[in-house]
C-alpha cells in the first residue's frame, strides 16, 4: 500500500548541487540569524514595549532583552533537561516488542 521507492545515494557525483551543499550558504544563514537576533535586541531600546502585567507584578519584563534572554535560556534548559531524561527514559527501539 505504501510507496517505498527510495533509491539511495551513489548518484551524488552526477547530481546537481543544492543550496545547502555549499557550506558557505549554511554560514550565511547562521550569520543572518545572528543579525536578526541582534536587531531584535536593539529594538528593545527603540520601541517602547507595553508591559504585559501591571506595574510591580513582573518588574523584570521591563528590562531590555528580558524576553530574548528568556527564550534563549528556555531552549537551553529544555535541551539539557532532555539530555538527562534521555538517560532515564530511553530504551531500545523494539523495547515493547519483547
Amino acid at each position: 500500500m505504501e510507496n517505498h521507492s527510495p533509491d539511495e545515494g551513489n548518484q551524488s557525483s552526477k547530481e546537481e548541487k543544492h543550496i545547502f551543499d555549499n557550506p558557505k550558504n549554511v554560514k550565511r544563514l547562521i550569520r543572518i540569524l545572528f543579525s536578526i537576533c541582534f536587531v531584535l535586541f536593539i529594538m528593545d531600546f527603540i520601541i517602547h514595549r507595553h508591559l504585559s502585567f501591571e506595574e510591580g507584578e513582573l518588574s523584570v519584563e521591563a528590562w531590555p532583552g528580558f524576553y530574548a534572554v528568556y527564550g534563549f535560556v528556555a531552549c537551553v534548559v529544555l535541551v539539557l533537561v532532555g539530555k538527562q531524561m534521555q538517560k532515564l527514559l530511553m530504551r531500545r527501539e523494539d523495547y515493547y516488542e519483547h
Partner: protein, 562 residues
Amino acid sequence: MSINLHPALFLILGGLILPLFRGKVRQALLIIFPLLGFINLLGYESGDFWSLYFGGYDLEVLRVDKLSLIFGYLFHLAAFLAAIYSLHLKDGLQHMTGLMYAGSAVGAVFAGDLLTLFIFWELLAITSVFQIWARRTSRSRASGLRYLLIHVTSGLILLTGAALQYQNTGSLSFKHMELASVSSYLIFIAFGIKCAFPLLHTWVVDSYPEATPTGTVFLCSFTTKTAVYALARGFEGTEQLIWIGAIMSMFPIFYAVIENDMRRVLSYSMINQIGFMVVGIGLGAGMGVNGAVAHAFSHIIYKGLLFMSMGAVLFRTGRINCSDLGGLYKSMPFTTGFCIVGASSISAFPLFSGFISKSMVMQAAADQGHLFIWLALLFASAGVFHHAGIKVPYFAFFSQDSGIRCKEAPLNMLIAMWGGAFLCIFIGCYPWPLYSMLPYPVDYLPYTATHVLLQLQVLFFSALAFAYLKLSGAYPPELKSVSIDIDWTYRRLLPRFISAVVRVGAPLRDKISHACRSLIERGIGLIQRHHGPEGIFERTWLTGSIVMMVTIALAAYLIYYF
C-alpha cells in the same frame, strides 16, 4: 429556509455508502460529501434545535449556537482537506471510516444532551480506530486495541456520569457544570481522557504514530478537538483547567526533544498545543474561551498540515525517524515549503495562524494576572518552536543528507497541503473572519508592536539557542530508540506484575492444592475406614452386644445422677 438535514448525516451516511462505489466515482464522492455537509450546515443559525422524546427521555439531538457552529465548520474543513489528502488510496475502508469519523465529531459538537453526546462519543472511538488498524502491522493492531479500549472506557465513564446526573437532577441536558458532584467529576474525567490530560495522554503518542500516513491526518483533527469543545461547553471557567493546561503545555516538549519518530514528536507537540486551549477554557468566558476556540481552529489546520508533510515523507520514503531522514529538501521541495509554513504557524510567528490565536490565550492569562501560567506558556512557546518549528523540518528536510532520493509527494497530497498552508497564512494575515465566528465578541488586536516584538524575540533567540547547541555539539544526537512514558505502566509494569504474580503464585497454588488434595484424601480414607465395607459403623452388629451397650449406658446414667 429549506428543510435541513442533521449536520452529521452527509458525512456518516456518505461514508457508509462510499464502499458501494469504485475508482473515480468514489474519489469524487469522497470530496463531495464534506462539501454537501458544509452547504447543509450553512443553513443553520444560532438558536436552532431539534428535540426528540425517546424512550422516556427528552433528548436534544441538535443544538446550534456559535460555539457548536464554529467547530462544525472547522470539522467539515478538516474532513475536506483530509479527504483530498487521502484521495490516492485504494483502501475503501479508510475512506469510509474517515468520513464517518468526521461525521461523528460533527454529531458530537451539535449534541444538546449527554446521551446523544455519548452515542457520538463512542462512534468517534469505533470509526477512528480503523485509521490505525489500516496500517496492518502487528504494532498498529496492538496499538489500535489499546486506543479503542481507552476510548470506549472514556465513553462508559461519560455514560455513568450522565446517568448519575439524570438521577440527581432529572435532566440529561449538556450545559455548563460546576465541578462539584460525582457526576460532574466523572464527565470531567471522560472529557479529560479524550483531551489527553496529563497521565491520561498516552493514547495520543502511542497510537497516532502507528496509524497510516493519511490516517494520522484524520486522527489529529477530530478526537481531541471534540474534547476541547466539550470542555468549553461544560467546564468553561473551571480553575483546575488552568493548571492542568499549563502542565499539558510543559511536559510534552521535553519528550518531543528526545523523541526520534517524527510523528511522535508532532503528537507530543499536539498535547502541548491542546494545553494552551485547556488553559484558555479555564480562564473562562470572553478572551479565554475565544482564544481556546480560535487556537483549536488554527491548530487543526497547521497540525493537519504538519502531519500531512510527515505523512508524505513516510509515504515516499517508508521512513519516519529523525535518525533515518535528512536532506529531503532536494527531493521534496514543495513538501519542505509546506512543512515550514506549518512549522511557522505552530510556532506562532507573526503573519501565521498560530500567532493570532495563541496570543489571545496568553493575553487572557496576563490580563487575569496569572504570572506563573504566563511564564509557563511562554516557556512552552519557546519549546514548541524548538521541537515542532525547528526540529521537525530540520531533521526531515535538512540536517545531514541521508542519501534518500525519492519523488515529490503525489499531486493530491500537494493540493491538500497547499490548502492548509494557504489557510495558515490567510488566517494569520487576516484574522477577522475567524474572530467574527468566535463565541464571544472579540475586542482584541493581535498586531501591536509589543506583541510582535515580544514574540519575535522569544522565537529568534530560541532559534539562536538551537543553532548554538547544534554548533557546540551539545545537542543530543538522534538515536534509534523509544522513550518510555506513562503507558509503560500498562504495557510493561502491569504485564510484569501479572507474570510475577503467576510466577510466585503458581508454586504456592500447587502447594495449596496439593495440601487440599491430601487433606481430602485423608478425609475420604477416614470415612472409608469407618463407613467402608470393613468400617466399624458398617459392620453388622449382634443384637445381644447392642443390648449390652445400652445396659451399660443406662447404668452409667443412673450412677451419674444418683
